[in-house]
Symmetry: D2
Subunit: 154 residues, 4 copies
C-alpha cells in the first residue's frame, strides 16, 4: 500500500539497528513489528507499571510508541547516514489505552530532504475489535548520524 | 504569580492524592514539587533506561511529565469530585533532554467548566543554566471521578 | 466510504444552512461541494487577494477551509439543534497553495457527544495532478444552537 | 523585554517590506504595529465580512494574524536574505473573537538556524478589558529569499 520508494535499500536494517538502541522502547517492552518504506508498526503489551490514575496506559507512553513509529517511518525514506529527530507532534486521545496490547502505526504523508510530515495511530488490541486510542500528526527532521551528540535539534 | 482562585480549597491534597496513583510517574521517578492554583511543577532525574538513540530522555517521557503537570494544573482549578483527562496536546522539542534532572512546569491559560487550555515547558537542569527542552500547548477535560473507568474520554 | 450513521436525517440541510451564514466563506469564494455523514468537501478558487509574500494562498485561508470542512463533518453526525465550534487544530503545510483551485476534505475520525476528533487535507488542483498542500488534526465541540451568542467556547 | 539580539540590524525594514507584500493582510485590514527582535504585533479591526456563523471573526482569520506575527517574529532574528515559511502550527480557541479590534502577538521561544519555535496569542480589544481569544504554538523555517518561488517548503 506504500507508494514511497526508499533511497537506501538497506533502510530496514538501519531502522532496526537504531531501534535496538532506543532504551526506552526496551524498558516498556515495545517491539518493531513492521518496517516498510514510509511505514512502521510498533507493538507493546499493556503493563501495570505504565498506567495513569484510571489504570490505562499513560498518554506519554502511548505517545512514545506512535512517535517512534512515525520517526522510523520518516527514517526509512532517508539516505544512509541520516538519523531522525522529532521536531514536534500533536496527539489526540480518543479512547482509553487498555486491553492486552497496543499497536502503533506510523506513516509518512510528505517526505522531504530536511523535514518529513508523518501521521500515526495507536490501536488497543484484545478480545474486542481493535479500537483507535490516539491519532498523531507531527514533523520529523533528518540529522546526520554522527558519534557526537547533536548540540541542537534544529 | 498565579491569578486563579481555586474553587476547591482542598485542591492540593486532591492533586497529590491523584498523582500518587499515577503508576507511570513512580516508574520513571517523577515527583510533584509544586502545586499552586493553576500551576504545577514536576521534577524527575535523568535516567539511562528512559533514553532514545542519542542518550537523551525520550520525547514520550518528556511529554509525560509536562502533560501530567498541565493536567494537574487544570485539576487544581476544578471542583471537588472532578478528575481530568487529556484531550490532546502539541509539543515542540527544542533542545536535547539531558543533564541531571528535568523540570516540567504546567499552567492553565484558560480554565473552563468542561475544557481547560494549558501551556507547559520542560527544562533541563544540571551544571549549566536551565535550558528549555520542550514547550506544550494542550487541552484538558474535566470528568466525574467515579470508581468505574470512564468508557470514553469525550 | 463513510462508516458513520447520522443521528439527524436532515444533517445535510442543516450543514448547508449553517454554511450559508459563514460570511468568511462567501468573502473568499468557498463552496460546499460534498456533505456526507462525517465527511465534507469545500472548494475555492485560488485568488490574488488571499496570498502571502510568495503569491500562494496564505496559510490562514488554507486553514479556514479545512477547519470549516472538519467542523461541518463533525456537525453532520450531531443531533438536530447542535452547532459546532472549533476547540483547537494543528495544521502542517506541505506544498505551496497554488494552482487554479483548492479542495479541502474534512472527516470525522472519532465522533463523541461533546467532543469530535477530525482530520483533514487540502489539495491544490490545476493542470497537474492534485497535490497535498496541508494536513490538519483537530478537535470540535458540540454547542446548543441558540439565537444568543455562546458566551464561552468551552 | 525581548532577550534576543538580531543578526541583521536592518531587521525591521526587512520585516515591514515583506509584510507589505502579504496581500491577505491588506485584504483583511491588518497592520504591523510592533516589530522588535523576536517579537511582532499585528492589529486588525473586527469586520463583518470575516465572520463565522455566530458573527465572530472566523478561526482562520484569527489564525492568519497570529501566524503572520509569529512568522515575522522569527524572521526578525534571521540574517539578511532569509525569508520565512510556516512549517506547522497549533491553535487553541478560548473566547469569541469579537469587539472592535484584534491584537495578535507573536514571539520567538527558540530561534534556530533552520527552524524557529514561536508562541503567540490573540486578544480581543474593545470597551472591556482585553480578552485572550486564541493561543498558538508553531514552527517556522528559514528559506532563502529568491525571486523564484520555492518549489517546496521543506
Amino acid at each position: 500500500m506504500s507508494t514511497f520508494a526508499p533511497v537506501d535499500p538497506g533502510f530496514e536494517e538501519r531502522v532496526r539497528e537504531s531501534f535496538s538502541r532506543l532504551t526506552l522502547m526496551r524498558t516498556i517492552g515495545a517491539r518493531l513489528v513492521k518496517v516498510a518504506p514510509g511505514e512502521v508498526d510498533i507493538d507493546m503489551p499493556v503493563r501495570d507499571d505504565l498506567t495513569q490514575q484510571h489504570g490505562y496506559v499513560a498518554a506519554g507512553i502511548v505517545t512514545a510508541i506512535v512517535d517512534t513509529a512515525c520517526g522510523y517511518a520518516a527514517m526509512s525514506l532517508m539516505p544512509a547516514g541520516a538519523n531522525v529527530l522529532t521536531v514536534e507532534y500533536k496527539v489526540n486521545f480518543m479512547s482509553p489505552a487498555r486491553g492486552e496490547r497496543l499497536l502503533a502505526h506510523g506513516r509518512v504523508i510528505k517526505p522531504g530532504r530536511a523535514l518529513t510530515v508523518c501521521a500515526g495511530e495507536v490501536y488497543a488490541l484484545g478480545d474486542a475489535a481493535p479500537k483507535a486510542v490516539a491519532a498523531m500528526l507531527g514533523t520529523m527532521v533528518a540529522v546526520r548520524d554522527t558519534a557526537e551528540a547533536p548540540e541542537a535539534r534544529a
